[in-house]
Amino acid sequence: MKPAPFKYYAPTTVEEALAHLAEHGYGAKALAGGQSLIPMLNFRLAQPSVLVDLNNVSELFYIRSDDNGGLLLGAMTRQRQVELDPLIAERAPLVHEVMPQIAYPQIRTRGTFGGSLAHADPSAELVAVSIALNGRFRLRSQAGERWVPADEFFVGLFTTVLEPDELLMEVALPAMPPRSGGSFLQITRRHHDFCIAGIAALVTLDGKDQCEQARLVFLSAGDGPVIARQAADMLVGQAPTPEAIRAAAEKAASDEIDPGSDIHASAEYRRHLAKVLARRALTQAFDRASNI
């Protein structure tokens, strides 16, 4: 399968890239790692008339500390870099844990951190994890810049709030609050396939070992990532007992997610998995929070 023809630009600065996007609007597609986009071009499922290749925009490749013990990642940072980075391992252990589970090594050498987020596949690990970690995204167009919290960035199936002339520039991951623990679990048919159900969980304990805050984000449970806020609320102020965890998992799976059916899994099976994974993930997250 060969792609349809397109006009190609390979800018070296963000300004140049934004100029191309501004000029071509909906007709243009930004090319990051290409690991999701190029298969679509090969299948001719996508036929953009213009491709703006970001792989030479060196200013978008970085991992840095911010001033508050958190991290800043340039959108074009290769997933492989994120996987190996010691700052990530130290300050965003959930990201570090998830990276090796994303697709395959050869995908991660080209795939980018920001590219996965902009593509917004509801089964994408980084989508759920960035929400669980309360990430914030910096977007820029020729008109200016804006910050969007992760939980507002994803609005539908493969859809984000990015305008056609906007680029995702940077992801900010705040420092994990003290006494926090995260967990990421997914069920895949083959090792590293897109999951049929998954969850990213982050919890924080207060001084009395009760839950201070919780975030549960489900993958493959709806059109986009699904945040189970009611289940999280149920846990706040409670001791994280097996019963409390089970009740929260039940709540999330029964009332807060809207999984679809496809050839790999029925909605009912996905809902069942979501409940099992929520229970296991919360248990693991609370264990980790209390072991710090």
């Binding site: 399968m1 023809p5 083959r190 090792h191 050839i263 099976y269």
Partner: protein, 780 residues
């Protein structure tokens, strides 16, 4: 005594070429001026063609020609039936309908070719496909196997009057009478599906017509270059000797590459002659799901009748088999199913009623296993169910029913895929079963480990199943063996090679006869200009039929060598030996002559020869077995299941196989590993999912789940060797054995792991979702 090579674990001669990327595959062929083909394929499973407008495509720069069925004129013809109706069974209904190069009037499956574009690049050809306006009027679709036989079902072939492609009944003994005497009759509906071959290399054809030399060269990923050559000669009106078909290195085949004269094999050579330009067509992966044949579903309503001590009195089943939109491959797959529905067992009564059904889907032709896994699944499932009901251990019930070793040759008295009586030439099934049980530690696991694991709340099951595999069928193969002036040996045979190691294993046979190293034997397979009699690589027959033809030819050459050497060395033949490329006098090794020198002597440039002499040290011989040899074995595994997530993990896998004499055990093991991997795919991961409109929902490698290195466990292989009396080498086929018992084993092991849920697995492939539904049903 010369060293013996047959039976040695030799590394492969062909590997350095493959490892360094120097091996020629069809897409590697580059010819100056080559055009590239792309096919417009039907998006509908069943549609009337109202019009096809190719004018825009024709005027696209870079497009050289576009053809539809109308443009082919008299050349348009149905493909040849490859396997005819069985002539030796009474009352058979068989409607032969074969595929066409481009659809005319209507399309019968998603993917059926409607038009072909020849352009300066594949990129441009694909652009041109989008220029074509095909006005198709969708018709009702016959997608479901059972619904297709209902009276008001849409008809795939109106002139047949129904979608019943074939009806055949086979009987052995009297099942109805046996049933009356049974202490237990178990009746179940068993649903079996298989899938795509999934070779890593897709199909391809390159054709080069040399107008001045009046010669056509075709590179083709085919398993059957000689029949392709012969077919092309007929189709194109050429002499067979004007055509050379080469199957170079082929990146896996597993069955579908033996299907001949689909659209591409017709049109690419024809196009090359029409346009007087070389043409290349390389299938892409997406296309492969629609354009290459596959195996699909069978539905069995089956019964087994037994005595209370577990002896099988009879098996009976009515089944439907999906042949897709056409049936060029006849009844091969379902006949194989029948041949294997009695498994390895001594069953006096058998009744089988087969209905083959046309559906609006791609044509079904053999994929590794070719109907055998279905038969074994049926038999082993029924036996496992019986074992449970009768409370007999599953190893014990198998032992009680095996065909005993002194009962061979064992005639089942039904016909097999070659339309001959199904005769099992030889077999000794108990040792493989015992070895497998021993290797996996069956007793210890069942008595000690499993109870302990269960007490921990873990669901770990053990399974063990036995199988047979018909192999080595005729009609024949041939080989030519030649000693060259250099002393090296040149061998040619008609079968092709798709990874089985023929270049090495066949060389080992020649080496044993001629006293040379296998590394000095240069083998050519799959090139019709080197050898042009034979059928192809299929049905696990290379190591039987081609191997024995090579063995025969090597023996003939050995005889010629000895005869000539005897004269030259003035020594009787019995005192001569062939060692290290020399013929020497046994007790006086200094008296010797090299094979090369002898070869030169045998081919004088001057002088007279004796009447009746053939020049050189060369012989062409053929081998055709009376019937096929039957391999067998037992597989066992231990698998853990998480009943909350439905995820499985195979902890141990044991495969004991008996393929008679092994030419090269290293290669046999590789075949077993690969077969088991495919079998695992067929058990829990792979399935071609069609919807009610005949649309394939998972036409990509992202959704058609071929097992990766994580899904395939380490496989421990054990060997038994029951030589076949049918051929001098004593060999049986080994190419398909790995995959045949896996679905049956998987089902048994899954049930064992989830014994506390008391589920019955009557379907394959299973999947996490299907397992979930089974467990839910039990809870209610």
């Amino acid at each position: 005594m010369a060293k013996k090579y047959v039976g040695q674990r030799m590394t492969r001669t062909e590997d350095p070429r493959l490892l360094t990327g120097q091996a020629l595959f069809v897409d590697d062929v580059e010819i100056h001026g080559m055009l590239y083909a792309a096919f417009l394929r039907s998006d509908y499973a069943h549609a009337r063609i109202r019009s096809i407008d190719v004018s825009a495509a024709r005027s696209r720069p870079g497009v050289v020609a576009v053809y539809t069925a109308e443009d082919l004129g008299d050349f348009w013809q149905h493909g040849p039936p490859l396997v005819p109706a069985p002539h030796s069974v009474e009352g058979v209904i068989f409607h032969s309908r074969t595929q066409v190069p481009l659809a005319k009037d209507k399309t019968r499956y998603v993917g059926e070719a409607i038009a072909v574009v020849f352009a300066e690049s594949r990129y441009i050809a694909e652009d041109a496909l989008e220029d074509i306006v095909a006005d198709l009027e969708p018709l009702e679709v016959a997608a479901d196997l059972e619904e297709a036989l209902e009276p008001d079902a849409p008809l795939v072939h109106e002139d047949v009057g129904s979608n019943l492609a074939s009806h055949l009944i086979q009987d052995k003994g009297d099942y109805a009478a046996a049933r009356e005497k049974a202490d237990l009759v178990i009746k179940r509906r068993i649903v079996i599906d298989r899938g795509a071959a999934g070779a890593m290399e897709n199909r391809g054809v390159v054709a080069h017509w040399d107008e001045k030399a009046q010669h056509l060269t075709v590179w083709d990923t085919t398993q059957a270059p000689i029949p392709v050559r012969n077919g092309l000669a007929q189709i194109l009106g050429l002499s067979e000797h004007q055509i050379r078909v080469i199957a170079p290195f082929v990146g896996g085949a597993f069955g579908p590459k033996i299907m001949m004269f689909l659209a591409e094999e017709f049109l690419v050579p024809w196009g090359a002659m029409q346009l007087n330009r070389p043409i290349k067509w390389i299938e892409d992966r997406r296309e492969n799901f629609f354009a290459t044949t596959q195996e699909r579903g069978q539905i069995h309503d089956a019964e087994i009748a037994l005595t209370s001590d577990g002896h099988i009195l009879g098996v009976s089943h009515e089944f439907l088999h999906d042949t897709g939109a056409y049936n060029p491959y006849g009844l091969t797959i379902p006949l194989n199913t029948q041949s294997h529905s009695m498994g390895a067992y001594d069953i006096p009564n058998y009744h089988s009623e087969l209905r083959v059904v046309f559906t609006n889907k791609m044509i079904t032709t053999p994929v590794r296993g070719a109907g055998r896994p279905q038969g074994i699944f049926l038999m082993e499932r029924l036996l496992d169910l019986a074992a449970k009901e009768l409370d007999i251990d599953r190893i014990e019930i198998r032992k009680r029913n095996f065909i005993p070793p002194d009962a061979f040759p064992y005639n089942h008295r039904i016909i097999d895929q070659a339309f001959a009586s199904l005769v099992f030439d030889s077999g000794n099934y108990l040792p493989a079963l015992e070895k497998a049980a021993d290797m996996i530690g069956y007793e210890k696991f069942v008595k000690e480990e499993q109870p302990r694991l269960r007490a921990e709340g873990r669901h770990v099951g053990i399974g063990i199943v036995s199988f047979v595999e018909t192999t080595g069928v005729g009609p024949y193969e041939g080989s030519r063996v030649t000693v060259e002036a250099s002393g090296k040996i040149s061998v040619a045979t008609g079968v092709g090679t798709q990874g089985q190691g023929h270049f090495t294993s066949f060389a080992q046979i020649v080496a044993d006869q001629l006293g040379v190293s296998p590394r000095d034997v240069r083998l050519v397979t799959g090139d019709t200009s080197e050898f042009h009699w034979g059928t192809g690589t299929f049905a696990s027959r290379g190591s039987v039929v081609a191997a024995n033809a090579i063995h025969a030819a090597a023996k003939s050459v050995r005889a010629k060598i000895l005869k000539l050497a005897s004269k030259v060395l003035e020594t009787p033949e019995e005192e001569l030996e062939l060692v290290d490329g020399l013929v020497r006098v046994a007790d006086i090794p200094q008296q010797s002559i090299s094979l090369g020198e002898l070869a030169v002597m045998a081919n004088p440039l001057r002088g007279a020869v004796e009447p009746g002499t053939e020049p050189g040290l060369e012989s062409t011989d053929y081998y055709g077995p009376q019937y096929g040899a039957v391999a067998s074995g037992t597989h066992a595994m231990i698998m853990e299941v998480d009943p909350e997530t439905m995820m499985v993990e195979i902890k141990r896998y044991v495969a004991v196989e008996d393929c008679g004499t092994m030419l090269n055990p290293l290669i046999v093991e590789g075949q077993v590993h690969g077969g088991v991997a495919l079998g695992i795919g067929n058990s829990y991961y792979e399935q071609l999912i069609y919807d009610e409109n005949g649309q394939l929902l998972n036409a990509s490698l992202a959704d058609y789940l071929i097992p990766t290195a994580f899904e395939v466990p380490r496989i421990e292989v054990g060997h038994e060797e029951t030589r076949s009396p049918l051929n001098e080498l004593g060999s049986k086929g080994a190419g398909e054995a790995g995959c045949i018992p896996v679905p049956a084993l998987f089902a048994q092991t899954l049930e064992d792991a989830l014994a506390d849920y008391a589920i019955e697995i009557l379907e394959t492939p299973m999947s996490p979702n299907k397992l979930f539904e089974l467990l839910q049903a039990v809870k209610k």
